[in-house]
Every structure is written in structure tokens, then in C-alpha cells.
Symmetry: C2
Amino acid sequence: MTDKRVTVSDAIFLAAESRESMMHVGALMPFSPPPDASPDYLRLLMRELRDAPPVSAPWNTKLKNPDFLSSPRQRWIDDQEFDLDYHVRRSGLPYPGGERELGILVSRLHSVQMDFHRPLWEVNFIEGLDGGRFAMYTKVHHSLIDGYTAMRVLSSSFTTDPEERDTPHFFLRERPTRHSAGEPVATFSGLFALVREQMDGTPMFWKAVGRLGKSLGGRGKHLAAPLQAPKTIFNCRVSRNRRFATQSYKMDRLKAVAKAANGTLNDVALALCGAALRRLLLDLDALPPEPLIAMLPVNLRPKNDPGGGNAVGAILASLATDIEDPVDSLQEIIASTKEAKRQLEGMPRSTILQYSALLLAPMSVQLATGTAGRVRPAFNVVISNVPGPKEHRYFRGAQLEAAYPLSIPVHGYGLNITLNSYAGTLNFGFIGCRDALPHLQRLAVFAGEALEQLEATHL
Amino acid sequence: MTDKRVTVSDAIFLAAESRESMMHVGALMPFSPPPDASPDYLRLLMRELRDAPPVSAPWNTKLKNPDFLSSPRQRWIDDQEFDLDYHVRRSGLPYPGGERELGILVSRLHSVQMDFHRPLWEVNFIEGLDGGRFAMYTKVHHSLIDGYTAMRVLSSSFTTDPEERDTPHFFLRERPTRHSAGEPVATFSGLFALVREQMDGTPMFWKAVGRLGKSLGGRGKHLAAPLQAPKTIFNCRVSRNRRFATQSYKMDRLKAVAKAANGTLNDVALALCGAALRRLLLDLDALPPEPLIAMLPVNLRPKNDPGGGNAVGAILASLATDIEDPVDSLQEIIASTKEAKRQLEGMPRSTILQYSALLLAPMSVQLATGTAGRVRPAFNVVISNVPGPKEHRYFRGAQLEAAYPLSIPVHGYGLNITLNSYAGTLNFGFIGCRDALPHLQRLAVFAGEALEQLEATHL
């Protein structure tokens, strides 16, 4: 039986939850069915699930005080009336079942706030994709599990063997220990938690932050001055609805460009995002003259490090949106990330954490004081890169085609881009506020065209 | 340009809104496509909509204070950034696209709270029903339009001519005057508004109600004593999720039974509901020994009455769930409704309103004081009968098969049954709290079996 206090890290995401800034993360995973799949492949799968053993912790635990999320006496308890049909769902797509219809459905599903009276996860099997394909959309509240661990847990319920059809679903396995050994968590939400943990939760501290916020409201320019990022149309108060767009590129293409330009794969990914943002904002006559600034969670641990503890830092990098020429723009980004990483290189781990906290402090203050989206942003957009499995994965014989992360837009930061590597591809998930970014879909299109343009330069 | 105060009646539904008791109503309408329909019939329809003229009032108006619904300064204003794609949607069903899959999707859609930052309506076109059929699910907040008017407005956007394909959609027409002449509004929500209007909104009145509620909390039995209805598993606090089930019967079958038993069509409908509830509760070992009591909104205006003003009353009738024999049970219901209606017959209109308000007062007090679902209920279930069109209706050549209403479960009253007559059929919409009624679907099945049983008795 479960009955345990929520951790500080869980509590942060519960306290931050609101109808507009919802603290759940997701993943969209399209699959190609096995050659021998019958038309009711998914229905049979559902039947298998209904006959499955009871779900494991934490998937069967819910909050004790669902109507007062930030209760100091908040606990995780067993859901005695666990309702599997609520958590495991089936959906269909309208004709013709293309990426467009899938994106619309997933945007809608991600816009619905979770029911805090139940275990905070859902899996949706989506049928009706062209060619008999289907997709899995998972949604987990960040207080239950972080996005990085969620991705690991999901991966573990898939297999590298297309013939293996018995691997238990993730909710039938115990969650691995949070942030345990192995690779560090280099995501926005990981950092978000980290920094808010650093900012000690005593009332005195929050009072001081409040005063800071008030002075910020009065003479915003003074505190905002050290921040380089210009305000954009998506650095605003967010509404409760989301738009989601995806794009996947072969890693080899990105690597070839990176090699030619003497930069990293991540630099090229940033260049695609920067070029797409530049075009979108230019089309809307809303491109600021100053370059947009991205915040990048980075893994600073050397290879073969035994692990343990945190080794995640944040760096700010220019997206060079002020430069029209794609090659010059990429070179500017490469220079910017190099310089940012050099800053951290000599630092001991504790200093890196402090330095990262400092970079993120303006955002934290804005979120804590409710000024986010009303004042100049600390940066424009978070771009995280989450490592995924290197080989193809299978689920009941169906091949996982891609895995697109859905992260958390918050007030002031109405766009989030998260990348996930998988089997020789890099998968981009663009998620934003529906109202701030009515043409968010174009980011995915423009990013693809930017890659073609870079390849065409033979740089 | 719209900028007008919300009416008292609108304000009531805004004030009553909460995440658990959501004040939106809906209708589910399956259609048979025209013989010449192409596979992208609905997609073409969407294209037609996007090229349509701007939507008319009130469909383009939103609340001025969406974050403080019961603001005394609440107003309806134009939505300057009206986003048609948000309001007109497409969905698909998973395989095999039967009534079950449709019911699950509509239950989910009806469980999502509306976004009060936008005009309070949605239309969802649902594809993937077997045989190329599709369905329309509409959702409207009761503050924007009442369910009865909504049904009239919807009907007016359909046509009796299968060849007529240009009738404008309801949101491209002005809403007719609320509660205007013609037939009276005999629905639960109509009554709900009426009674709360009667209960004068002055602070003094609500203070008195508050005191009443406190004494009720202390010694509930005393005030509850005059109420006959037993507490059941669904007379509880409701959760935020819904279940929805439907059933349609040929009017001729119901009329034949009514004639043989010397009762009304409505009596037979009540008998089906009563028999279904008896079986469901018996299966769950939760049938109270006392008969369940239904509250029925009734239209008391004689035929050919010129109309104007309200002529709606409420009566309470036994559902005879304590009687096993179906014929005896029907006879008991007939006697009960006769007696209830006789009470009202001689009364002038104003007295009927007062009498109805008195019947509903315990429910109103419970809802106002937050004791609903914690004390003995004023009655067990509301069963409304809303008249619909007598002839078949068509929409872009597709034949409307049925129209199932989705009404409002509230705390204390976790089940609502609303009937709608259409083209020689009576359509039942059962809607309830997902958690209180995990087997709600069985009500629809049991009601059908109860009808067969009554027919077999050759009474």
C-alpha cells in the first residue's frame, strides 16, 4: 500500500499547475503495424490490457488532496477504485488520417487538464492513420514522473525484437528510481525543478521574491536590462489551448551539415529552429531586430562518468534570427554555443548549478510573481534535446517510427521545442500556446526547408 | 457590435458552474450520408464552412470576465479574434465504429469543461460510424442559450427536403429571442433557472438560505423528513467525468403499451426508466426499499394557447421501483403522475410556479449551501421530455437518424434522463457521473428489455 509524502520536486509541479500553465508532459509515438496485424489489432490489445495484472506503483497512486494541490500535507495514496478504462483509451482520426489530423487531435488531448482525483497518467491509442498505421499518445503529470524518466520507462516497455510480443506495458512495471544514476536529465522541466529547489521554499525567501516582483512591475526596464532577449509574440501570457507540430530528420543529414560547418549536431538543430522562427515572425511582421535567445539545458558530464547527482547546466545561445544568410546564421550560432559552453567548462559542479540558477532566476522570479509574459523575457524559447534509443523499437510487433516529446509552455514562454533522438533520426516536437502562435505548424515546415537550404549551400 | 449585460437567467448558470458541475448541455445526432456522398464529404463540408460568412450573434460573443464568472459586471462582448477552427471540429471513431465507440467519445467530449475565454459553443463532426455514417455532437453553455432553444435553433438549420443543400448553419443565423412565444420550455435546466430566479438574488435571501443549510447540516433528518425520495448511489457528489448512453424506440410501440394500460406515452417512458433503474440497482445490491422519485418538468398550457410567459410546472412521480411486476409497476406510475398533475390542474399560472418552486426548493437549497449529495435528495432523478421535429430532417442531404439530448448532472443528482421526440421515435439520453454509475450503459439496455417485457404481457 502506498501512502507517502510528495517530494519537494513533485510539490513544485503541483504548486505551479494552473488551468493555463498545465504541468503535464507527453509523447506522441506513431507505429507501423506488424505485417500480420488484423483490423482489430488494437481492440485485441485493449482486451489483453483488461485481462492484465493490476497496475504497479506509481501508476495506481493518486493525490490525497486533489482540490488543494499545494497542500503542505499532500500525499500519494492508492487509488482504491482504479479505473483502467479511464487511463487507457482508444481514439480514431477523421479522413484522410494524415499528420495534420493527428496533430490536431494530439493538440486537443494535450490541452485538457488532468483530473487530479485520479492517478496522473493516460495512454491513448490512436487509429486511422494512413496505411493502417496507429499512434500512441501518453500524458503524464510532471509531479508523478519527469519527462526524461517517462521516456526511459516507455522505452523499456518496447523491445528491440519484432517477434517479442509479451513485454509488459509500462504501467505494469514499477517506475525506476527517479533521477537514478546513468544519464543526467537535461530537459527544461528538469531544470525548472532544479532551480526552484535551489530557491529554498521558505516564506522569507518568497517574500523577498515578491518585493522584487513589485519593483519589477513598477520599473520593469531596470531589472530587465541585463536580459538580452527581445520580447516576441509568444513571450506572453498563455491561454489554455495548445498547438503541436512535429518533424523528423535523418541524423546523417544533420551531421553532414554540422561537419561541413565545423559545429555540432545540436548547433544545426538550433539553426533550423532559428531559421524557422525568423521566417514565421518575418511573415507576421513581428521579427524583433535583436536575435532571439534560446535556453538550452545541457549535459556537462564527461563520457564514462560513473554518474550520481546532477550534472545539468543551462546555457543561453543566440538563434541568430537577425541574420538572413543561412550559413552566416549557423556560424553565429556555433560561435554563441561555443562561448556559452566555455563559460562552464572549468567550473566545479556546484558552481555550474549556481550559474545555471542565476541564468534562470529572472524566469523563476517572473513565474513566482505573476509578471511572466508581461515583462521582458529572460530568454525567448527553451530548446531541449532528450536522448532516446539508438536502435529501432517494437511494441507487439509494431515498429516505433518516431517519438515526439510534448513539453510545457508557461506564462512568458509560450513556445517550447523538445528534440528526441531515435534510431538514426532527430524528432522535433514544437508545442505552443494556440492563441499566441496560430501558425505554429509552419515552424515544422520552415525548419525542413531551412535544412534543405543549408544542404544546398555545399558549405 | 455586442456589449450587453448578462441576464439574470444567464448569470445563474455562470454562478453555478464548477469543474464538477459543468453547466453545458449537448445533443448527439447521428446521420445517414446521402447516397452520392464522397469519402471526404465531411472535409468538403469543413471547407464550405471556412469560406462561410462571419458567424452571427450570439455565436461570436464571449464573456468579458472569463476568470470571474459570477462577476456582477459580467457582460457579453464580441470575440475580436474569433477562431472558427476551435469551434467547428472533426473527430474520428476507432474500429469498429459502433454505438459503443460513439458513446465513449461523446462522454469524453462532454466531460471537458468549456473555455470561458471564447464563445461558449462547439460543434463536432464525428466520422467512422459503421456504414459510412457520421454524427454531429454540439455543446453549448447554458448561459449562452438554453437547451430547448438550442434544439429549436439546430432544427432550423436542418431541412425537410433531402435535395436542399444550402440551409445556413445555426451559427450563421441570429439566435431567436429566448423563450419567445410558441411552446414553453419544459426542461430541467429551464426549471432550474426559473426556480433560482424566483429565489430573489438579494444577499438577505441567500443569508437566510445559508442559515437553513447550516441547520440542515446539523440535523439533516428534520428538514429532509418531508422528502420522500430514498438516497441512492447516484444521489451523491459528482466527479468531473461523465458517462452517456442512448436508446431510441418507435413511438408506435410506446403508444400501443400506453393505450393498453390506459396511460400516457410519458408514463410508459417513465416505466422503462423505472424498470431499468430497478434492475441496475438490484444487480449492484443497492436498491432502496422505497420507490425512487422522478422530478418531471411538465408543460401545463392547453393546446392552442396563444403562448407568452411561462407555463411550466414540476411534478414529482414515483418510478415504482419497489414493484417487481412490470404491469403493476406501470399502473402505479400512471396513478402517481395522474395524482400529481391533478394537484396543478385548477391552479392559476402564478400558483403553479410557486408550487413548482416549492417542490424544487430543497434541491435549490442543497445546491446553494453545498449540502447536495451529502443529505437526503429532494428527488432521485430528473426526467425531461423535449419535443422535437415530427418529420425527418436533412443536413446537406444526410438524413438525421435521431437526436439525443445531454443534460446537466449536478451534485446530489448524478443522473439525468432527457427524452427527445423525433420523426416517430422517442430518443433517450442517459447522462451521469462516471464514478457514481460505472454501469450506466446498462440502463439503455435494460430499458429496451423492459419495453419488450411490457409488450409480451399483452396487457
